[in-house]
């Protein structure tokens, strides 16, 4: 059993963490080169840069850093921090003025940092990029605060429909035609469950995972032209008829036993591991998992439709910026600008089936080999990323209000009522200072 002064110890550890971070910062300072050393716009001056990223997107960051270090005088030292600790670590470092030169952020949390002035204003530098208008628009919106731009896209993860062509064929559906509306989605899923049955189900979702609902259900609302929140993310508009329509479709699928029963308890860690087992007909999945699917599995990729058509996606992933306290801004920007170059995007991201951060590179020599990757790339221009300062506490925290709203709507017996009462608790949480 835990010892008595548990909380005190926790806080002591935290304050210590601050001290340790302070020591870490001290080491780096010795390697600092004056930022003024940069000449004629070139930031490649042999600077030693520090960079933080979260474990969830480590792979792509690692590849970019390795190649940059091999081809540049500047050297980036990447520190990977456990995803669950990332926000607390950044905040602690910010409090002690110990942020690294560069740090990435889950795009959803970028407004928390831009609004607190943790990132350097790089509006002018971004404006000098010839391809600035083709940078993932949803990411750029989240990195903008009060008309100033602070971050650029770093890694992208989109929600898209995966469908299992083998099961489609077995159920007598056309394996080359994905659902164009959520209603068709429900028909396809139901047909698969009815025609095949047994342990094969029509669809699946993370039914006890708040972030999964956000990622997979919201695009249906956007596809129909609706929205979940107001412009500045301070009030919920969850009673949007398209949200109700989407929840009703899933609610019916649950009642008809078309959704694999494990969905109800799926809290998130394993929600993407169900589709690759080959027993699910069609479901929204993260685009980044395509490369990890069984090679012999015939999978189709399609945009997430609205109840009656349209298409959208949740543009997730990470953005990255220069920290406001860095005294090596030119060198740090040199790295950022390079990560967005055609060379880095195509040879390091597209080659690995990752989604590229630039819409003008959607069709590149690697994606051309796989039309499914082109589709994901093109969806970057059409997708959305929701903006809210209290996003984490409201929508991602399992003890926050959103999970209850979503579960009431999917597993309860009155969708409208669940959303109407949810609107109040969500707005309260969003508006909290």
């Amino acid at each position: 059993m835990a010892s008595k002064p548990r909380i005190a110890i926790t806080l002591a550890v935290l304050s210590l963490a601050g001290m340790v971070a302070a020591c870490g910062g001290g080491d780096d300072a010795a390697d600092d080169k004056p930022a003024g050393a940069a000449q004629s716009g070139s930031g490649d001056t042999g600077a030693a840069l520090t960079m933080w990223t979260r474990a969830a997107t480590e792979a792509a960051s690692g590849r970019l850093v390795k190649e940059y270090n091999a081809t540049h005088k500047n050297q980036v030292k990447l520190t990977v921090i456990p995803t669950d600790n990332y926000q607390a670590r950044v905040a602690a470092a910010a409090g002690g003025d110990n942020l690294p030169d560069l740090f990435a952020s889950d795009v959803i949390y970028a407004p928390n940092y831009t609004s607190q002035g943790l990132y350097l204003d790089i509006t002018d530098r971004i404006n000098e990029l010839s391809f600035k208008d083709s940078l993932a628009p949803a990411h750029m919106r989240l990195g903008t605060f009060e008309d100033k731009q602070y971050t650029v896209p770093h890694t992208l993860d989109l929600s898209v429909l995966f469908w299992n062509k083998k099961l489609y064929e077995e159920a007598g559906l056309d394996p080359e035609t994905p659902p164009k509306t959520m209603k068709e989605f429900a028909e396809h899923a139901t047909t698969i469950r009815e025609k095949i049955g047994g342990d094969t189900y029509g669809t699946f979702f993370g039914g006890n995972c708040p972030g999964c609902y956000v990622f997979t259900f919201w695009p249906s609302v956007w596809a129909a032209g609706g929205d979940i929140m107001n412009e500045d993310g301070s009030a919920s508009t969850i009673d949007d008829p398209n949200m109700a329509e989407t929840f009703k479709i899933y609610n019916q699928l649950v009642q008809d036993d078309v959704v694999a029963p494990a969905a109800k308890d799926e809290a998130g860690p394993t929600w993407t591991g169900v589709f690759p087992k080959g027993k699910i007909g069609v479901m929204p999945m993260p685009s980044t998992t395509l490369g990890a699917m069984p090679p012999d599995m015939d999978i189709g990729v399609a945009p997430i439709p609205g109840p009656d058509g349209g298409e959208s996606t949740f543009v997730g992933g990470d953005v990255i910026g220069v920290s406001a306290s860095s005294d090596q801004a030119d060198a740090a920007w040199d790295f950022l600008a390079w990560t967005l170059s055609e060379e880095a995007q195509v040879e390091l991201l597209a080659k690995n089936k990752d989604v590229v951060a630039r819409t003008d590179l959607a069709n590149n020599k690697y994606s051309a080999e796989d039309p499914r990757v082109v589709l994901s790339n093109e969806m970057v221009a059409k997708g959305e990323t929701p903006f809210a300062l209290n996003f984490g506490a409201t929508y991602n925290d399992p003890t926050g209000p959103w999970l209850k709203v979503a579960r009431d709507a999917v597993y309860g017996d009155n969708v409208e009522q669940a959303l109407a009462s949810g609107k109040e608790s969500l707005t309260q949480s969003l508006a909290q200072q």
Binding site: I7, A8, Q116, T399
Partner: protein, 303 residues
């Protein structure tokens, strides 16, 4: 010759020993005192100070006493968590005490194999708590080993939703906690049991006392201080429950297993409202101190 030389030297040494003794004492105590000051007193003071401020994880704090405290009763999540945590504490303490007592009585006397059994019962205590939580999370998973076993033996047809309903989640978690801590509590009770002199038992037996009478009138009363220690540890630990629910249920399903410390964690690290979280900690600390005082008073009455 040597003796005479040594004697006054020894006296001198003894004198300087007595003169240096207080200094030596301070020397020995200093490291611990510094540790306690830096790791306990200082953070404790900081918690009180934080609870009197609007203290966001980002940005600079501003004094706002007593806002953080007056906001506590408005936090429905916190109020619900108190009810849940008390319920959890009651169940865990009763079950854990019973199981630990049973185990302790089983291996109390030296017989063939008791050493082996004691080790076996205690071993789960050597597993880290978080690791134990993850282990059981794996056991309970759909299509996990526990379901496979039950289905293979024909005991159940459908997968059991171990963490799927509020009660299932609560009792599945309690099972893990019992597994993890029964051995440790058994060890505490064992030390108490072995401190009871054998002749008391022998005298009772000579007087014709039954096993039940011996347990009721000899073992239990003489074990009282040990029981008090175990209960205080169990109640305090359960009221501060966090790891098990954070790892195994994340407070779900439907927020039904959200403990007080989980609310604290949410306020501090999801909502970044350290001031409010500190106020909750202070309230919790005061409640624990009061509760422990009361508990010890009742349990050690007349000792």
């Amino acid at each position: 010759m040597i003796e005479t030389l040594r004697a006054p030297g020894r006296a001198r040494a003894r004198r300087s020993y007595w003169r240096l003794r207080p200094l030596k004492g301070i020397g020995y105590a200093t490291p611990v005192a510094v540790m306690v000051a830096v790791f306990f007193v200082l953070p404790l003071g900081l918690v009180f100070w934080m609870s009197a401020n609007r203290w966001r994880l980002l940005g600079s704090p501003t004094f706002n006493f007593p806002d953080n405290y007056t906001r506590i009763p408005e936090n429905q999540l916190f109020l619900d968590s108190i009810v849940f945590t008390l319920k959890y504490t009651a169940i865990v303490t009763v079950v854990l005490s019973a199981v630990a007592m049973g185990l302790a009585l089983l291996v109390q006397e030296e017989r063939r194999g008791t050493g082996f059994l004691r080790t076996v019962y205690f071993l789960p205590g050597a597993v880290g708590f978080a690791a134990a939580g993850l282990l059981f999370y794996g056991f309970y998973a759909q299509d996990g080993p526990l379901d496979d076993l039950l289905q293979a033996t024909g005991l159940v047809d459908e997968p059991v939703r171990w963490l799927g309903t509020p009660n299932a989640a609560l009792f599945s978690t309690i099972a893990m906690v019992i597994w993890r801590f029964a051995g440790f509590n058994m060890l505490i009770l064992l030390t108490g049991l072995q401190a009871i002199p054998m002749d008391v038992y022998e005298a009772a037996r000579l007087d014709g006392a039954t096993r039940r009478q011996i347990f009721r009138h000899i073992t239990l009363p003489l074990l009282r201080p040990t029981l008090a220690l175990m209960l205080v540890l169990s109640v305090t630990g359960s009221l501060l429950a966090f790891d098990q629910f954070f790892i195994m249920t994340r407070g779900g399903p439907d927020g039904s297993t959200t403990s007080i410390v989980m609310v604290l964690y949410r306020e501090a690290f999801t909502r970044f409202d350290l001031g409010f979280a500190a106020a909750v900690s202070v309230v919790l600390l005061v409640a624990l101190v009061l509760l422990n005082t009361l508990q010890l008073r009742v349990l050690l009455r007349g000792e």
